[in-house]
């Protein structure tokens, strides 16, 4: 059974009872999970960014750039939108979140810790021996992680499977996937996009973190993916475009997706790689490189 708001509050000490959501949606009754205000989420987003900096700096490796660009997307999901119960990670009626761009694992771990899946102190064990927080997500070891990722292009297929299982089991949970825009160069993404529309899984939302960069450069220089929104649309998806750092826009898109029937929804979220730290923004060096101790200090000052 889902944990009560009071217990959630008592256990985490981070989410106030008044901020918890109790409103019932049309097809999504008995929601459990925090519902922070936009102001509270803005603070949470900053908090997640600080975690990302501290975690990757401590580990000495990792992917801060793509973690920072997805912060508002993940904040909106975990602290306002998703239905879940951290004391029961395998609750059959939970909404599922699939991080297909597995290199943003530090962000997901930070959100899961803040949501109450495990202590925030554990975050600093990232990438170390015996830690539950592997370099890329591993569904077998980390509470709250739904899918292993790190080999790009596979999350949407997996999510289609989960979405179909909901139909077979007559459950009303929803499935959310975050993909990278560079990841959309993988052919399997489009196999899955085709299948999701064909099977009419309207409980599925794909959010593309359109930060415009990949390891070797700007995506439009490496492999053109535009017109990206039109691609999803032509594959049979309901498509929304938002500023991926504007929490209100992200939340509104997620809410609109709930109302879309007989087709899946894609949200193309325009973002900035390294968002929130001046010297990391649009700086390719920080795709897969951790900040030094000195850089981390400067970053944390900016995120104070």
């Amino acid at each position: 059974m889902p944990v009560s708001k009071e217990r959630l509050n008592k256990e985490t000490g981070r989410i106030s009872a008044s901020a918890s959501r109790v409103a019932a949606g049309a097809n999504h009754s008995e929601r459990v999970g925090p519902a922070l205000s936009v102001e509270q989420m803005t603070d949470m987003a900053k908090r997640l960014r600080r975690h990302i900096i501290r975690m990757t700096a401590k580990a000495g490796s990792g992917h801060p750039g793509g973690s920072l660009s997805s912060v508002e997307i993940v904040t909106a999901l975990y602290f306002n939108h998703l239905r879940y119960d951290p004391s029961n990670p395998r609750w059959p009626d939970r909404d599922r979140f699939v991080l297909s761009k597995g290199h943003a694992a530090p962000l997901l771990y930070a959100a899961l810790a803040e949501a109450g899946y495990f202590p925030t102190e554990e975050l600093l064990t990232l990438r170390s021996l015996n830690s539950r927080l592997h370099g890329h997500t591993n569904m077998c070891v980390t509470p709250g992680v739904e899918m292993s990722s790190g080999s790009l292009g596979q999350g949407l297929s997996f999510a289609v499977g989960i979405a179909l299982a909901a139909r077979l089991d007559r459950r009303d949970y929803r499935v959310y996937v975050v993909l990278g825009d560079g990841e959309c160069e993988e052919g399997q993404v489009w196999e899955a996009a085709m299948a999701a529309a064909h099977f009419k899984v309207d409980n599925l939302v794909a959010i593309v973190d359109r930060n415009g960069q990949q390891i070797d450069g700007w995506t439009h220089e490496i492999m053109s993916t535009e017109p990206l929104a039109e691609k999803w649309s032509s594959f049979g998806w309901h498509v929304l475009e938002v500023d991926g750092h504007d929490l209100k826009q992200v939340l509104a898109a997620l809410e609109e997706a709930r109302t879309v029937k007989t087709k899946p929804t894609a949200i193309v979220a325009r973002t900035v790689k390294g968002k929130g730290v001046s010297f990391m923004e649009n700086n390719l060096d920080f795709h897969g490189k951790a900040p030094t101790a000195e850089e981390a200090e400067r970053a944390l000052k900016e995120l104070a």
């Binding site: 080999s151 997996f158 289609v160 499977g161 196999e191």
Partner: protein, 313 residues
């Protein structure tokens, strides 16, 4: 010996039975359901069958997502497409998390014959046995296939089951019992052992009958579970018969022969020999012509066994 049912047809029929007993079974295919015989399940249980189209990588991901949601998933296509084409998807989503997905690949080996080398699947056992966490089974005939598929449905975790296109002679009688990870002595013998899987089990039994007339007493092991390998039966065969020949419709490297040789080398070295697909790709031809060309015949086994027994002395 009369040709029985093909292993793929036995699979399709068994799926229907299992589908009746177990509502949790979901079946996927990639546009080959009439050839893999999953269309029988699709007809009976349309809501639990998903044709993923010509997109095997996506099919494996969908299978894993369904399995993560509590389903027992069977995913089928031809062996070539089920192995090389989606190796990484199987690795990430099925092998590493030990998903409850049963990959049942039909049209294994070179007995796809006329379709040519794009369709000859002679590397799949090497690919699938390379995963630390996956059971790999090659049934010898239709009767064993029924038991293998039922066992897979009842056993949590990932499987790769390799089936054949042609009808397969009957080798397993009504007393035959398949146990995952156990080789079955189809025939006792003390002069040498043939460890075989799939269509080569029948050919080994024919060879054993012929060799008996020459005074060579051949043991025939049906090693249908290629992984996890029944090391105990292999070591016992090495100790008791002093020579082992491996026979399989696969390349030498990475198949049953490689696995058996590792066990023999480690625990009880004896002379060994291998009847396998030669280290090359084949042209289009009738399957029996290709099997002849590669020596995958009862006569081929007899010849190798005679030489092997001579090496013992």
């Amino acid at each position: 010996m009369a040709a029985g049912m093909s292993t793929r047809e036995a699979y399709g029929k068994t799926l229907v039975e299992l589908g009746r007993e177990n509502e949790n079974i979901v079946v996927l295919d990639a546009d080959l359901s009439r050839s893999t015989f999953t269309h029988l399940f699709a007809k009976q249980f349309p809501e639990r069958f998903f044709d993923c189209g010509i997109a095997e990588q996506n099919m494996m991901g969908i299978a894993a997502g369904l399995a993560a949601s509590g389903k027992t998933v069977f995913a089928s296509t031809f062996a070539v497409f089920a192995s090389a084409r989606c190796y990484d998807q199987v690795r990430m989503c099925i092998a590493q998390p030990r998903s409850n997905v049963k990959i049942v690949a039909t049209h294994g080996g070179i007995t796809v014959g006329e379709d040519g080398f794009s369709h000859h699947c002679i590397e799949d056992l090497a690919l699938y046995t390379s995963f630390p966490s996956l059971a790999v089974v090659v049934p010898a005939d239709a009767a064993e296939t029924v038991q293998v598929v039922s066992t897979a449905a009842a056993t949590a975790g990932p499987f790769y089951i390799r089936l054949s296109r042609p009808k397969t002679p009957v080798v397993c009688d009504s007393h035959y019992r398949f146990v995952l990870g156990k080789a079955v002595a189809m025939r006792g013998g003390w002069d040498a052992t043939v460890a075989a899987c799939g269509i080569m089990v029948h050919r080994a039994l024919v060879a054993a009958d012929a060799l008996a007339k020459e005074g060579i007493d051949l043991r025939v092991l049906n090693v249908s579970t290629v992984k996890p390998l029944d090391e105990e039966s292999i070591v016992r065969a090495a100790r008791e018969t002093g020579a082992i020949l491996c026979a399989e419709e696969h390349l030498l490297r990475g198949g049953l022969g490689s696995a058996v040789a590792q066990v023999v080398a480690m625990h009880h070295p004896v002379p060994m020999s291998f009847v396998t697909v030669q280290n090359s790709y084949s042209p289009s031809a009738k399957s029996e012509e290709l099997l002849q060309q590669h020596g995958l015949t009862a006569e081929g086994i007899q010849k190798e066994v005679r030489a092997l027994v001579a090496r013992k002395r």
